[in-house]
Symmetry: C3
Subunit: 333 residues, 3 copies
């Protein structure tokens, strides 16, 4: 939605330096910005380039106040955060609400709220879809699924029956939610594996974002839960019965076997693997490719772990240094 | 299918203590069980909670025989296995056979056996679908595909032309079966890669289960084969020409490059990587994130390997301990 | 397209020994070859088996020249490369161009060039599809997408709006192209994450091949680019703003977080992880499961790196040997 920089500044809590009557129509990078675009600068070095760009306005910190420029400046404490918010404010979503495509297949007793869009060939079972939610083309939404308001489900997503999603949940293309967990019992006589029942559910709370082709299994007998505000990247695997807290960050290709607890504000790097029944306590950071052993508990707000098995970062770095030293010694002998 | 505990006990080979006329209508966890549900207890500690639950019957071992309870007890040697079987016996599958949805696109010369269900927008080429198989919404089944009886293919699965699946094969949503292998030949003059023909097939034997968004490539010139009863978790990659034995267990995100042999009863942890032409012999166990080098042979029933490159577990644990020691020494200096 | 071996030899630059009038109808492995098939042998050992096979012609090196056989021999410098090319020449693609399936949903202002095939239930937005391109069943092609000529998009692929693909690009089933990058800004007051705009684009150049269920994110504000001739295996993740060069090889399940530069001719093993802002220079090789730290630069044509963090192969092997030694010493104490 296009608006004057002045109006935008008010919503962002920014102080204006320069002409607040300029119109903002979009956000852009410094390299690609044109007239009407807003850019941002986090430090003085980036400010110079931002001022040279074709943007109409620049979001920056106090350091920009005395800059000589004809552009409008929006002075804030956290330019990156203000830029992210500005993007949402100027973004033009009109036209996304395309209504229910005639090729969509909707169960007669599905409950489709007002303002919902269903893409071409979407298949909706006996589900409930909240106000203004968008379901992409080719999505398959099973019976008993409940979606809150303002969800955005990209194309070709599959949601298994009975899964529940909160409000403003975003799910990227190809993700699979609520699939069977990986649980079998071995018959000692035959050596064959028989399936343990996978009849629990999946609950995803408000403001969660889930990446492309990520898979989240439902509980075996109970619930797999993803807490409010948690962000999950592409190709992540989350097994049955896992309990994820709020505002957790999970980078691409991380994997969680089953019955794992991840507390609030944990940050997990790419390709991390966590084994069954482990618990990662509040605010812990796991470096990329870290491996956490079964039943392990890792604790400490802001404490980083790395390696397989996961060890406190500093300790692990010392081991790595010693190991490198050994490699060199080996060379001299 | 609801039935009396007595009838169930007979099928499970369980001995009843208490009232066998109680009706069983489902299975559940101890925490969520209600009237009609069956729960299980593997040891005395869990038995107490099971007896306090709202379940109508408890599957347990000999240790439960003298328990004071009004619930029906089913005494078996392996309570977890009996519980898994009970789940299948009481599960109500009526209504799953929903017939052929009018929006399904079926090639005129496809052979669809009796009792087959095709979900909305499923696309079936010149394929053969066995009795009572369920094909989920949005699945794409290529020409020449053969599916045995009682298969269950969840939504949005793609099966490339010519793949053959046995009986009772379960494939979870988003999986891709029979895709081209990753094989190229480099032209030394141009430095460019040209595609090596990927025209083989994929054969999946009876009772295999394949997780969500897993990919299995067909052979380059011959066959990729997955043996009977093998269970594969989500987001696993199996490359061209691999030969997997029977009753193999493969946890999520494991990857197998190409021309690999995995013998019967091998157990492979999450995020394991196996390089081309390796052979993992019968009954070997690979810990999570293990890496196996090209052409490597690992042997020994029940022998565990860990680390990259894979080493016998004990030996590797000693190395890790020494490494940790080095980290500490480094600290003192 | 069936043709005489003589005609084929001319196209391959091969010298014929024996009867060039034999008809070639296909390629095959030595084990499965029948009449009309071509096989290949890279060395004398494999030549014996090739000559015993039922194939009609054998592609081989100079070493085969004096072989006693009734089969036609095609003598070339690089038998594997010639075989790959022969496969393309004899392959019968007639019948693949199946036209536009009546169930395909095509936006009225989409530009569909001549000879394009759209599979059943494909959904095409306001996109441009180049001559002779094949779009598989169930694919979702967003608004503003541009596809060059002779592309092959397998079923259930999702291409987000605005992505641009060159000519002869192959995308396997379930891949997701142009999805949102994983970028958030944390509000220090609330501790919550807000989405950084992901409004850039994705450009894929000519002759790229992308594996099944692979995901490639578009740029945050600018462009993610995959260079000409690059080959990407299954379940690979490529994050926002990455710049990949030409003729890069990426094995399955490798992951690239964001803003990474991969120069021409780099070869990346399976399950490799590369962290943000790293640069892998021309011709570098990364062994399987290698981890590259943020901002790291790796250089050297033909130089191999391995381990996490990535180290020159030789150095790392010495460290591993020392580590194994420590494990043994630990044992003796």
């Amino acid at each position: 939605m296009r608006q004057r920089v002045k109006a935008l500044a008010e919503k962002l809590g920014a102080r204006i330096v320069g002409d607040g009557s300029v119109e903002a129509t979009g956000v852009a990078s410094v390299a690609t910005a044109g007239k009407g675009d807003i850019v941002f600068a986090e430090d003085e070095q980036n400010l110079a380039a931002a001022l040279k760009s074709h943007a109409s306005a620049v979001i920056a910190g106090n350091f920009a106040e005395t800059a000589k420029t004809s552009k409008a400046l929006l002075i804030v404490a956290n330019p990156r955060l203000a830029f992210a918010r500005a993007a949402h404010l100027v973004q033009n979503n009109a036209g996304q609400q395309t209504g229910i495509h005639p090729s969509a297949v909707v169960h007669p007793s599905a409950k489709i709220s007002g303002g919902v869009s269903l893409g071409a060939n979407a298949v909706i079972g006996q589900a409930r879809i909240g106000d203004r939610s968008l379901i992409g083309a080719g999505c398959i939404i099973g019976d008993g699924v409940e979606l809150g308001e303002d969800c955005e489900i990209y194309p070709n997503v599959t949601i298994y029956p009975g899964s529940r999603l909160g409000r403003r949940v975003t799910v990227h293309a190809g993700a699979v939610l609520g699939s069977d967990g990986f649980g079998y019992v071995r018959d000692p006589k035959s050596g064959r594996y028989e399936k343990f029942p996978q009849i629990g559910t999946l609950e995803i709370e408000d403001d969660v974002e889930i990446g492309a082709n990520t898979t989240i299994d439902r509980g075996a007998l109970e619930v797999t839960r993803i807490g409010r505000g948690t962000k999950i990247d592409n190709l992540v695997h989350i097994g049955h019965n896992c309990q994820f807290g709020e505002d957790v960050i999970i980078a691409a290709q991380a994997g969680f076997s089953g019955s794992i607890t991840i507390e609030n504000q944990v940050v997990i790097g790419g390709q991390v693997g966590v084994a069954e029944h482990a618990r990662i306590q509040e605010g812990v950071l796991l470096g990329g490719q870290t491996g956490v052993l079964p039943k392990k508990i890792l604790r400490g707000k802001g404490v980083a772990f790395w390696g397989t098995p996961a060890r406190p970062l500093r300790e692990y770095l010392r081991s790595l240094a010693s190991l490198a030293q050994l490699g060199k010694k080996g060379n001299k002998e």
